[in-house]
């Protein structure tokens, strides 16, 4: 049976930014595959409700708020999670975000806010959890980049730059941590229209965007199986790779 290799039974997975969207979808899929979860994000209300969804699936959830751009916050969050669940076997660096602005109008603070949220947070969480994984001689890190780590988007330079950086951070960390038996891989999602459209114009623009993607828009269910595969023993011989889950958007 295929599910033997893919099973996450007995594993503890930490997903940052898991209060909603793709982070929530990956956390729920990993719970279905048998993992217990550490659910963390800045907004407590959202992660509490995801925690309940994990428990409904018969798994344990440790819910704790954290700002992943702050070292002290991450270190105390990881310490609390390990105290509660014993260890962390799988880390998904999913927290991220963007603020659109032209370069000519952008302040240093605005640049650093986006780069810290996407790139530096990935480094801080990996370093903190990686110390425990290295001591235990094994683990899986899954970073989340974006299709915009490969191509340019207007008014989004820090987002595009930081996501491209996550892709090469993945390669460098994979080479560095192979000696600790930690596999580091990355998912670069394309367009997943998970939020409700703001208004009619937003809905129309989305429809145009989706019509240009060979496989249309992504659904939350599409990322779960890939995250489970990369987190499982089935991916023990994969490391340093970025898998572009974009419905073929970047092919033409």
């Amino acid at each position: 049976m295929i599910s033997e290799q893919l099973s996450l039974a007995g594993k503890i997975a930490m997903v940052t930014g898991s209060g909603r969207g793709l982070g929530r979808a990956m956390a729920l899929a990993m719970a279905e595959a048998g993992a217990d979860l550490v659910i963390t994000a800045r907004t407590l209300g959202e992660i509490e409700s995801v925690g309940k969804e994990i428990e409904q699936r018969g798994r344990r959830a440790f819910v704790t708020p954290c700002d992943v751009t702050k070292t002290d916050d991450v270190e105390s969050m990881v310490a609390r999670a390990i105290e509660a669940l014993g260890r962390v076997d799988i880390l998904v660096n999913n927290a991220g975000g963007s603020r659109r602005k032209p370069v000519l109008e952008m302040t240093d603070e605005e640049w650093h806010w986006v780069v810290d949220l996407n790139l530096t947070s990935t480094f801080i969480c990996s370093r903190t959890v990686g110390r425990h994984m290295a001591a235990r001689k094994g683990g899986k890190v899954i970073n989340i980049a974006s299709g915009w780590g490969y191509r340019g988007l207007r008014n989004s330079t820090p987002y595009c730059a930081s996501k491209a950086a996550v892709i090469n951070f993945t390669r460098a960390l994979a080479v560095e941590w192979s000696r600790h038996n930690i596999q580091v891989n990355c998912i670069a999602p394309g367009y997943f229209p998970l939020k409700v459209p703001r208004d009619e114009q937003d809905a129309r623009e989305r429809a145009v965007h989706i019509s240009r993607i060979p496989l249309g828009g992504g659904e939350a269910d599409d990322i779960g199986p890939l995250a489970v595969f990369l987190a499982s023993d089935g991916a023990n011989y994969l490391s340093g790779q970025t898998l572009l889950l974009d419905g073929g958007a970047l092919l033409p």
Binding site: L215, N236, Y237, S239, Q241
Partner: protein, 254 residues
């Protein structure tokens, strides 16, 4: 349930090059996930073993000897599979190899160049064209082209093989785009240095050197193939097309 997305129950898979190397492992991985498997290669004796192993798992296993460089034989194979098993859902283009031609470009004959291109690239096109007609009609299909490190990176004395495998990767992307709107995804599975490959048997010292060049410090094992292949062959990868998954222990990140 997330595991349900990986099931291949009710699917029919054709695996070329199914008699040797990682071919039998691929056939068995698909069967274990629920698929009926047609094992294809030139030599009947070897694929019969693969088909028997599939049958032992309680799945339909057929052995059909075909040379994938023979376009008519490939068309006949696919028609036969569709007739006997009802459909053609998954194609693994795994046939290929270098036939020991590690040769300087200046020494390579026309015939050797043609033979390597035919087996690794043209054969995959013939199989995809024939199987694709059935897949497009049914609105669901998976084509998985098997490539190797030479398809992504150059190597001394391997020009023909590198050109063929590199061509196969670009063929995959173009075909993915062509078939995306019709429910058929096309991806490549990249294979690094595995235990049972001829390239991995150069003697103990060279073998240790090869291992040191791989970030995870070991050669690949048959069990490393299973989950990636089933992910690509199943509904789990519905939104994934024109891409590669590399089972290379991290070689390509250095």
């Amino acid at each position: 349930m997330v595991f349900d997305r990986f099931t291949l129950e009710g699917k029919v898979a054709i695996v070329t090059g199914a008699g040797s190397g990682l071919g039998p492992t691929m056939a068995l991985s698909l069967a274990q996930a629920g698929a009926a498997v047609v094992a294809v290669a030139r030599t009947e004796r070897e694929i019969q073993k693969t088909a028997d192993a599939v049958s032992k798992l309680g799945k339909t296993g057929l052995a059909v000897p075909v040379d994938v460089t023979d376009s008519k034989a490939v068309d006949h194979l696919v028609a036969q599979v569709a007739m006997k098993l009802g459909s053609v859902d998954i194609l693994i283009n795994n046939a290929g190899g270098e036939f020991g031609f590690s040769k300087a470009a200046t020494e390579l004959t026309d015939e050797e160049w043609r033979q390597i291109l035919a087996t690794n690239l043209t054969g995959a096109f013939y199989c995809a064209r024939a199987a694709g007609r059935y897949m497009l009609n049914r609105g669901w299909g998976r084509v998985i082209n098997v490539t190797c490190i030479y398809g992504a990176r150059g190597s001394v004395n391997h020009t023909a093989y590198a050109a063929a495998k590199g061509g196969l990767m670009q063929f995959s992307q173009a075909l993915a785009l062509e078939w995306a709107k019709r429910g058929v995804t096309v991806n490549t599975l990249g294979i690094g240095w595995f235990e049972d490959q001829p390239q991995s048997q150069p003697g103990p010292e060279a073998r240790e050197q090869l291992k040191r060049a791989i970030p995870v410090q070991r050669l690949g094992l048959p069990t490393d193939v299973e989950s990636a292949l089933v992910y690509l062959a199943s509904d789990a990868s519905r939104y994934y097309t024109g891409q590669s998954i590399w089972l290379d222990g991290g070689i390509l990140c250095r």
